[in-house]
């Protein structure tokens, strides 16, 4: 029974990327844009964050580089889907492929290995509270969640963002820049995806690889559905998915148990849970009315 508690620290870590990316995506989708390129954004940001930390010898500058990478990829996606009115699914898939391809190539070019390990000096240092060592990201995540919720639901900006995703014409005729707001919302979503990526390489897994997020970008998308676009529920969802993720990691590594069930099978648990949860949640979620539709006046 103890393992249910033993995995808590890992679960908290596993919660971070799924929550951060989901909360960013919630903001983006509230404005009416779907970005399914989270996996690619996390992959590339994890890599650039690693490179940044390595080049500057400062892990926090590395985190910043990851954040910026996510923001730029968000901008690219926003430009394609908002300004050029391109297909948002195609653009998202493109970003996913770009992430994998670029990192596979980049890692070889820089380190001569497909999945180099990062040296201890590149890691983000932990924070000690009440004698317990916390990842700063675990503390940062609920703050980002609360901030995003506040902006979305308690500020003038949030009122506009949600209006733009729900009824762009209504927003346009009262003088709101529909496309500009959508573009910025996509950038914000991308930036949080970038933060999630930086966390993966610099704080949690300490490695770089073209498949580093291992589907967590897609689980984040599932979390968006689960949360019904509410950041706080996304935190709950992030913890839930993270918990099963941690449990699977733990079970797969425990001797004896690993013999009873094949390792690969246990590692599928979080994904199966995701499937079930989404299947149950999707009927009840209400998405913005203009989600995925580019806006044009005539």
């Amino acid at each position: 029974m103890n393992i249910l508690i033993d995995v808590l620290p890992v679960a908290l870590r596993a919660m971070v990327p799924i929550t951060l990316a989901a909360v960013g995506e919630i903001f983006t989708e509230r404005a009416g844009v779907v970005n399914i390129g989270l996996e690619g954004i996390m992959t590339l940001s994890a890599f650039i964050a690693g490179v940044g930390s390595w080049a500057t010898r400062d892990p926090w500058l590395g985190v910043l580089a990851g954040l910026a990478t996510g923001a730029v990829l968000g901008l690219v996606h926003g430009f394609i889907s908002v300004c050029l009115r391109g297909n948002q699914v195609v653009s998202g898939v493109g970003i996913n492929l770009l992430g994998m391809g670029a990192v596979g190539f980049g890692a070889w070019a820089l380190w001569g290995a497909k999945s180099p390990m990062l040296d201890h000096s590149f890691w983000v240092p932990g924070i000690s509270l009440w004698g317990v060592n916390f990842s700063p990201f675990v503390i940062m995540t609920p703050v980002v969640v609360a901030f995003t919720w506040l902006v979305l639901h308690k500020t003038a900006l949030g009122l506009r963002v949600r209006a733009v995703g729900e009824a762009p014409v209504a927003a346009d005729v009262v003088g709101i820049h529909v496309n500009r707001l959508r573009l910025w919302a996509t950038v914000y979503g991308g930036a949080l995806g970038g933060l999630a990526g930086a966390f993966l390489s610099l704080d949690w897994l300490h490695t770089i690889s073209p498949t580093l997020p291992a589907g967590r970008g897609f689980i984040a998308l599932a979390n968006v559905v689960f949360s019904k676009l509410n950041p706080f529920l996304a935190l709950v969802g992030g913890f839930l998915f993270g918990y099963f993720d941690a449990l699977a990691i733990h079970l797969a590594s425990v001797a004896g148990f690993g013999g009873a069930l094949p390792y690969q099978f246990i590692r599928t648990i979080p994904y199966l849970v995701t499937l079930v949860v989404v299947a149950l949640a999707i009927g009840r979620a209400r998405f913005p009315a203009a989600l995925g539709q580019p806006y044009r006046r005539e």
Partner: protein, 508 residues
């Protein structure tokens, strides 16, 4: 000669699909006047006013605002200059409350600050008191009936204190009292030196409230006249380009067998409290039952319950068969057709083509054995519908979105009438139609009635109620204040009943 507040010169508009909506139109509004803009469905009224308010840009032509040449790239710029517009098809955010919709875009100075609803709320209360246009401010607007949404749209622009107020068919779903109140607001704005452009199909209103009137026909300017120098007949014929046929008189009929029977119908509304509170009535073969009433008294909920869109309790029978627990498709299969009040939300699928919309809900005869669509047949039938109801469109393949408001309405009405139903529920069937089309639809409804159709008509337009109904019910606060043969009623009595008096009180 008063000064022109805004002047549009030689405005031409060609839509991206090649439709020429306006051709070198000149249009001017003086400071301090109420200016009527008239024209048939598809004449280009909405297009012209959307250009003035910055939502569309003209293909060619110039606009002068206070004598200076301007180019509005967006509604934002026009709004900043002082031009506000109430659009024919509402621009509201469905899940937002009335107050949030009004506040949107004017929430406060700091974008990351809180929405200053309290301050705006006070201002809105103030304007509601002065204008008599009351709306609930704390309910999501998607739960409000169309008439109430219309009031909200007007309030939204009034709050912004613009110098030029453009209203695109604001009166189509308002009751006579509301129209009177709106007009007194417009007159007082004009006396303060502000200007108003009013689009309407009701000539009586134009004569009542405007100072000058401009008439468009097929995208061209026909005439600009001071209102007092014109007459109803002259305006009508300059709109249509020929004399108007007069409406055939209605012959009274007593109905045949009972088609619809409703007993003690209760429908829950917003927040659980009942919107329809125990209504009983019946509609017979060959009879039109008109339901008059101020919008928001339960009409929308009544209709949506009967067509299977809302849960209800009580008894509803169509030709003796109970409708309890049936969904919209099953109700439709029993022979109930429905012209919804909201053509864009419920009547049409805007991104679909005219042909696809024309066969919505009646696909059976257009489907082959393996489930494929028989497009040749669909196009033939659509062409027929376009012709019979004179829908102006570039063809069956055009997007429904590209039709003018009145032509969208024709498409919906045409489709529902061609389903050959047993019972037709028509909710504001002539909303936004020009005079000729209104005549045509009303005549068609009367003809179908003579052929035995049972019709439940919901309308905020008393003229329509009196022209069509055999019996009239008045709905107030979720109940019928009485049902009576139309001969026993007059406008005044119905007006009193709509205000909540009972039959006995209204008789005295």
């Amino acid at each position: 000669m008063a000064e022109n507040l805004i002047e549009a010169r030689k405005i031409t508009k060609v839509y991206p699909d090649g439709t020429q909506a306006l051709f070198e139109v000149d249009f001017a509004v003086q400071a301090g006047e109420v200016h009527g803009l008239l024209g048939e469905n598809g004449a280009g009224k909405s297009t012209l006013t959307k250009i003035l308010s910055g939502l569309l840009s003209p293909t060619s032509g110039t606009i002068l605002w206070k004598g200076k040449k301007v180019r509005f790239g967006s509604p934002r710029e026009a709004l900043k200059a002082g031009i506000g517009m109430v659009h024919q098809h509402f621009a509201l955010v469905g899940p937002y409350t009335g107050l949030e919709n009004i506040a949107l875009g004017a929430e406060g100075v700091r974008i990351l600050g809180p929405v200053r609803t309290r301050w705006i709320g006070k201002k809105v209360e103030n304007i509601m008191d002065r204008s008599g246009l009351r709306v609930p401010l704390d309910v999501p607007v998607e739960d409000l009936p169309v008439g109430v949404q219309q009031r909200l749209e007007i309030l939204k622009v009034l709050v912004r204190e613009v110098e030029l107020l453009i209203l695109d068919e604001p009166t189509a779903v308002l009751t006579p009292q509301e129209v009177d109140e709106l007009f007194s607001v417009l007159r007082s704005l004009a006396s303060l030196g502000k200007s108003v452009v009013l689009i309407t199909h009701k000539l009586r209103e134009v004569l009542e409230v405007t100072d000058r009137v401009t008439v468009l026909r097929h995208g061209k300017l026909v005439t600009v006249r001071p209102t007092r120098e014109t007459s109803l007949e002259e305006l009508a014929s300059s709109m249509v380009g020929r004399e108007m046929p007069r409406m055939r008189g209605r012959t009274n009929r007593s109905g045949g067998k009972e088609v619809l029977r409703v007993e003690n119908l209760v429908v829950p509304g917003v927040g659980g409290k009942p919107a329809v509170r125990g209504v009983s009535f019946s509609v017979h073969e060959g009879e039109i039952l008109g339901v008059a009433g101020v919008q928001g008294n339960g009409q929308t909920e009544l209709v949506e319950a009967m067509v299977g869109l809302r849960p209800w309790t009580g008894k509803v029978e169509l030709n003796g068969k109970s409708l309890a627990g049936l969904g919209p498709a099953q109700v439709a299969a029993l022979g109930l057709a429905h012209i919804p009040e909201d053509r864009q939300g419920m009547g049409l699928i805007l991104p679909f083509s005219v042909a696809e919309n024309a066969v919505l809900g009646k696909l059976r005869p257009f489907t082959d054995r393996v489930g494929g669509l028989r497009w040749r047949k669909i196009f033939r039938s659509t062409a027929d519908l376009i012709q019979r109801f004179s829908v102006q469109t570039s063809g069956p393949r055009a997007q429904a979105r590209s039709l003018s408001g009145g032509n969208q309405q024709r498409l919906v009405v045409g489709r529902e009438l061609s389903k050959a139903p047993e019972l037709l529920i028509a909710n504001q069937p002539t909303r936004g139609l020009d005079i000729a089309a209104t005549h045509y639809i009303r005549e068609t409804l009367l003809k179908l009635r003579d052929e035995g159709l049972a019709l439940l008509l919901i309308s905020a337009d008393l003229d329509e109620i009196f022209e069509l109904s055999d019996r009239v019910a008045v709905m107030y606060n979720g109940t019928f204040t009485g049902i009576s043969p139309v001969e026993k009623l007059d406008r005044e009595r119905v007006g009193l009943l709509m205000g909540g008096l009972t039959f006995e009180e209204a008789r005295g």
